[in-house]
C-alpha cells in the first residue's frame, strides 16, 4: 500500500513539473505582448520598453521560466502585470468560489445519477427504465452553458424566483449565497448527472449479472437488498473512475458557467487574464487547474485501493 502510494506520488510530482514547462512554453508562443496590450492604442515605444522591463518580459525566456517556476516551488505566483498585485491571493480567493461551484455540481450530479442509474439498471427491461436511459442521452447532448441559459430564462426571468446571476459570499448572507448558487449548481450538475447516470446504469447492470449476486439472492435476500449489501460497492469502482474524470470536466464547465452566471471564480479570472495577456496570471491559474486535475487522479487511484483490496497487492 505504502509503495503503491509513493509510486503514485512520484508520478504526480513529475507530471506537475512537466505541466509547468508545457504551460510556460504555450504562453511564450501566444501572440501579443503584455506591455503593448496594457498601453493599447496609447503606446509609445519608450513606455512599452519601460513596461517590458518592469514586467521582466525583456529577459531571456529561460531566465523567466526559472524565475517563475522557482517562485512556484515555494508558493510565490508572482505579481500580476495588469493589476500590479500578488497573484497567489487572487487565485486563492477565486479558487474558493470555483471549488464550491464544482463540488455542488458534483453533489447534484450524484443525487441525480445514483438513484436514476440504479433504477434504470434494475428496470432495464421496463419502459420506465428505457425512458430514463433516453432522457440521460438527451442530457448528455446539452452543454452546461446552454442548460444555464435555459434555467435562467425559466427560474429567473419568467418565474423571478432566483437571481439571474451574481455571487454573494457566504459570510455576507448565507441564504443569498445559497440562492445565488442554486442555478449554477443545477446547470453543471444536471448535465454531468446525465453522463454519470449512464455509467451507474451499466456498472449496476454488470454487477447484477455476477455470480455472487445470484448467490446472495439464493440465500434469500431480495433484489434490492442483495444489490445494496453486495452490489453497490463493486459497482462503485468504475463510477469513481468516471467521477474523477468528470471533476476535471466540471472544472472546465465551470469556466463557462461562471461567465453565464457572473460568478467571480477561477474561470472568469483565467479568461480575463488571457484577454489582457496577463501571462503570469494565466500561467498561475492553469498550473493550479492542472495540479487540481492531477491531484484528483491521484485521489482516485487512492480510492481504488480503499475500495478494492485486490488492487493493493497488485502493484
Amino acid at each position: 500500500m505504502i509503495v503503491y502510494l509513493l509510486k503514485r506520488l512520484a508520478v504526480l510530482l513529475a507530471s506537475v513539473a512537466a505541466a509547468g514547462v508545457a504551460v510556460f512554453a504555450f504562453m511564450a508562443v501566444l501572440p501579443g505582448d503584455p506591455a503593448e496590450i496594457a498601453l493599447g492604442v496609447n503606446a509609445t515605444p519608450e513606455a512599452v520598453a519601460e513596461l517590458r522591463a518592469r514586467f521582466g518580459t525583456d529577459r531571456p525566456p529561460v531566465t523567466q521560466f526559472l524565475d517563475w517556476f522557482g517562485g512556484l516551488a515555494h508558493g510565490d505566483f508572482g505579481t500580476s502585470y495588469v493589476t500590479s498585485s500578488p497573484i497567489g491571493p487572487q487565485i486563492a480567493d477565486r479558487l474558493g468560489v470555483t471549488v464550491v461551484l464544482v463540488l455542488g455540481g458534483m453533489v447534484v450530479a450524484l443525487l441525480v445519477a445514483v438513484p436514476a442509474g440504479t433504477f434504470a439498471a434494475v428496470h432495464h427491461r421496463d419502459p420506465l427504465g428505457a425512458a430514463i436511459s433516453a432522457a440521460s442521452q438527451v442530457g448528455i447532448a446539452i452543454p452546461a452553458f446552454l442548460a444555464g441559459i435555459l434555467l435562467v430564462f425559466v427560474f429567473a426571468v419568467k418565474a423571478q424566483a432566483l437571481p439571474s446571476g451574481g455571487y454573494v459570499p457566504i459570510a455576507d448572507d448565507p441564504a443569498e449565497w445559497l440562492r445565488s448558487l442554486l442555478l449554477p449548481w443545477l446547470s453543471l450538475g444536471l448535465v454531468q448527472g446525465a453522463v454519470l447516470t449512464r455509467y451507474v446504469r451499466s456498472a449496476v447492470l454488470d454487477v447484477m449479472r455476477e455470480d455472487y449476486l445470484r448467490t446472495a439472492r439464493a440465500k434469500g435476500r431480495g433484489r434490492m437488498g442483495a444489490l445494496w449489501r453486495h452490489g453497490l460497492r463493486n459497482a462503485s469502482i468504475p463510477v469513481v473512475t468516471v467521477l474523477g474524470l468528470q471533476l476535471a470536466t466540471l472544472l472546465i464547465g465551470a469556466v463557462v458557467v461562471e461567465r453565464v452566471f457572473v460568478i467571480p471564480g477561477l474561470g472568469d479570472l483565467l479568461l480575463n487574464g488571457v484577454a489582457g495577456r496577463d501571462l503570469l496570471l494565466v500561467q498561475g491559474v492553469v498550473m493550479v487547474l492542472v495540479a487540481a486535475v492531477l491531484l484528483i487522479n491521484f485521489v482516485v487511484d487512492v480510492c481504488y485501493a480503499v475500495l478494492d483490496p485486490r488492487l493493493r497487492g497488485a502493484r
Binding site: 477565486r94 474558493g96 439571474s164 460497492r233
Partner: protein
C-alpha cells in the same frame, strides 16, 4: 462497515479537491447605504491607475466621481468650472490663471491647494505612460501664486489645452496620495472607493467630506458583466438598476414596457470607422477609396447591423463638437459611380476586424455591398484587443478594418502618418495646427475644413456614430444622455 468504506472513499475524493482549494477568501461587503444603485458595465478596469494603464473603464468609473479636475465637460460638450471657480486668460492666450475653490480636501484629509495643481500637471510629463499625455506638451510651466491661485503658462496659444484639462489628463492628485494608484485612488470627488470585488463589482461610497452638493445616492455599485445576456437578465430580474450601455440594440425590445423601464438614447464620441490602408495597394489609390465610399449604403448598413440606432456622420466629427457639419452628402450611395471609379477592375482585399459585435455585424453588410461593385472582401476576425492591436494597429498589415474610435476630439489621429490609416496629407496637419493656435472662430473654421478634407480624400469611410443606449429601471433619474466625456457621471443620479 463496508458501506462506510464507500462514503469514506467518496468523501476523500471530494476532500482531495477541497484541500487544494485553500482559503475561500475574505470578502467584506454589506452595503450600509440607505439609498444605493447598481449600474451594469461591460469592461472592468484592469487596475485603477489611468496614468499608466490604457482602457476606457478606469476613467469611466473614477473621473468626476472620484477624481476631479479644474474643469469638467457638460452634456453639451461645453467646459464648466469644477475645482477651479473661475479662470482668466491673458490677451496673448498663453497664460491661464485659475482661481481654486477653498475648503476642498482629498479623501485622505489633505487639503487641496495650488501645490497639488503644480504637482498633478507636472506628473503628466514625468510619470504618465500613455501617449495622450502629449496633449499637455503645450504647457511651458505651472506656478503657484498663492494657495488658491495657480498659473499655467503655455508655449503657444492652444484651444485644446482647456479641453484636455477636462479629460483624465487634468485629474487632480494629492501629493501624498499617489503611492498605490492601481489600488487606492485618492481624489476630491463626491465618491470614494468603497469595496472592489475583483471580477465582480466596484462600490463607490459617498464622500462625507465632499465640498459640493452631496450626491442623492449614497452608494453606487458598478457591476461588471462579460456577457451581454447576463447583464440584460440582471436588469430584468432586478439584479441591477441600470445598463450603462446596451450591447446589442435588438435586445432593447425586452425593455419596451414603459411601466418598468426607461430607455435613454443619445450620442457618443465613437465614430465607427471603416479604415482603409492608405499606404498600400489597392487603397493607396484615392479613386479606389472613393469607390468604397460610394459603394456603401450607410442607411441600409445601420438598419441591418445596428437596428437603425446611431447616426450617420460622414467624417471624423461627432455632432456634439462645435465644428460638426453633416458630411453624409459627400458620397451618396451610388454603386454605378463606384464601378466607374474602379475602371472595371476587381480587387480582393483583406478585411481584418476585431471580434466585437458591431464590427462583425457591420463587416457582413460591407462585404455584400462591396461585392456589388467588384471588390471581394475576405473577412478575418481577430481577437480583440491582443491580436487586432498587434496585426492591424501596430504592424498595419491589413487592407480594411472596422473599429469604433471612442476618444473625444480624435480627428488628429489622421495627422499622424505612422498611424494605422497610413493617411498622409500635410495640408491636413497644417489645418489642425492652425486650429489649435487660432481664435475660437478660427478653430471652428479650420476644423470644419479639416473634416471636409478627410471626407473628400476618402481617408477612410465613416459607417455611423455609435449610439449611447442606456436602459434603467423606471424611477431612476439623472442618467447622462450623451456619453461624450470619459466618465460615467454618477453625481446627478437619483432613485424615486
Amino acid at each position: 462497515m463496508r458501506r462506510i468504506g464507500i462514503w469514506i472513499a467518496l468523501g476523500g475524493l471530494l476532500l482531495g479537491t477541497a484541500a487544494c482549494g485553500g482559503g475561500s477568501g475574505g470578502r467584506s461587503g454589506g452595503t450600509a447605504a440607505k439609498e444605493s444603485l447598481s449600474v451594469g458595465f461591460v469592461a472592468e478596469p484592469a487596475n485603477l491607475d489611468f496614468t499608466s494603464t490604457e482602457g476606457a473603464a478606469i476613467p469611466q468609473a473614477l473621473l468626476v466621481n472620484v477624481y476631479e479636475g479644474l474643469v469638467k465637460l457638460d452634456q453639451d460638450g461645453k467646459i464648466q468650472p469644477l475645482l477651479a471657480e473661475k479662470w482668466d486668460v491673458s490677451p496673448d492666450r498663453r497664460t491661464y490663471t485659475f482661481t481654486l475653490r477653498k475648503n476642498v480636501t482629498f479623501t485622505s484629509g489633505a487639503p487641496f491647494t495650488a501645490d497639488d495643481v503644480v504637482f498633478s500637471l507636472g506628473r503628466v510629463r514625468t510619470d504618465w505612460k500613455l501617449k495622450i499625455k502629449t496633449q499637455l506638451d503645450v504647457i511651458d510651466k505651472v506656478d503657484k501664486k498663492d494657495d488658491t491661485t495657480a498659473v499655467v503658462t503655455l508655449k503657444r496659444p492652444s484651444n485644446g489645452f482647456l479641453y484636455a484639462l477636462a479629460t483624465r489628463l487634468g485629474a487632480m492628485f494629492s501629493r501624498t496620495g499617489v503611492a498605490d494608484l492601481a489600488n487606492k485612488p485618492v481624489g476630491t470627488g463626491p465618491y470614494q472607493l468603497g469595496v472592489w470585488k475583483r471580477g465582480d463589482s466596484i462600490r463607490l461610497d459617498a464622500n462625507p467630506k465632499y465640498w459640493g452638493t452631496k450626491p442623492a445616492v449614497s452608494a453606487v455599485t458598478l457591476k461588471y458583466f462579460k456577457d451581454a445576456t447576463a447583464m440584460n437578465n440582471a436588469l430584468l430580474t432586478g439584479g441591477i438598476d441600470v445598463i450603462s450601455s446596451v450591447q446589442a440594440p435588438e435586445s432593447l425590445q425586452q425593455f419596451a414596457d414603459p411601466n418598468r423601464f426607461t430607455t435613454v438614447e443619445g450620442t457618443t464620441n465613437g465614430e465607427v470607422v471603416l479604415s482603409m490602408n492608405n499606404g498600400r495597394p489597392p487603397f493607396d489609390d484615392k479613386k479606389a477609396r472613393q469607390a468604397v465610399r460610394y459603394a456603401i449604403d450607410h442607411k441600409a448598413l445601420l438598419d441591418t447591423a445596428w437596428a437603425g440606432r446611431g447616426k450617420l456622420i460622414g467624417s471624423m466629427v461627432p455632432p456634439t463638437d462645435p465644428w460638426y457639419e453633416d458630411r453624409t452628402g459627400d458620397y451618396p450611395y451610388d454603386p454605378a459611380k463606384a464601378k466607374e471609379l474602379l475602371g472595371g477592375k476587381t480587387y480582393t482585399v483583406k478585411m481584418r476586424i476585431p471580434n466585437l459585435p458591431y464590427a462583425v455585424a457591420s463587416a457582413q453588410v460591407v462585404k455584400s455591398q462591396l461585392a456589388q461593385v467588384g471588390i471581394t472582401a475576405d473577412i478575418e476576425p481577430l481577437e480583440f484587443p491582443a491580436r487586432w492591436l498587434d496585426v492591424v494597429f501596430k504592424q498595419g498589415d491589413y487592407d480594411m478594418s472596422i473599429i469604433n474610435h471612442v476618444e473625444p476630439r480624435d480627428m488628429g489621429i489622421f495627422a499622424d502618418k505612422s498611424y494605422y490609416f497610413r493617411y498622409d496629407n500635410p495640408e491636413f496637419g497644417k489645418l489642425l495646427a492652425s486650429a489649435d493656435e487660432g481664435s475660437e472662430q478660427q478653430q471652428s473654421d479650420d476644423l470644419k475644413q479639416a473634416a471636409k478634407l478627410l471626407s473628400d480624400d476618402a481617408a477612410a469611410d465613416w459607417l455611423f456614430l455609435f449610439p449611447n443606449l442606456i436602459v434603467a429601471r423606471k424611477g431612476v433619474t439623472g442618467l447622462p444622455q450623451n456619453a461624450i466625456a470619459e466618465s460615467f457621471d454618477f453625481t446627478g443620479l437619483a432613485k424615486q
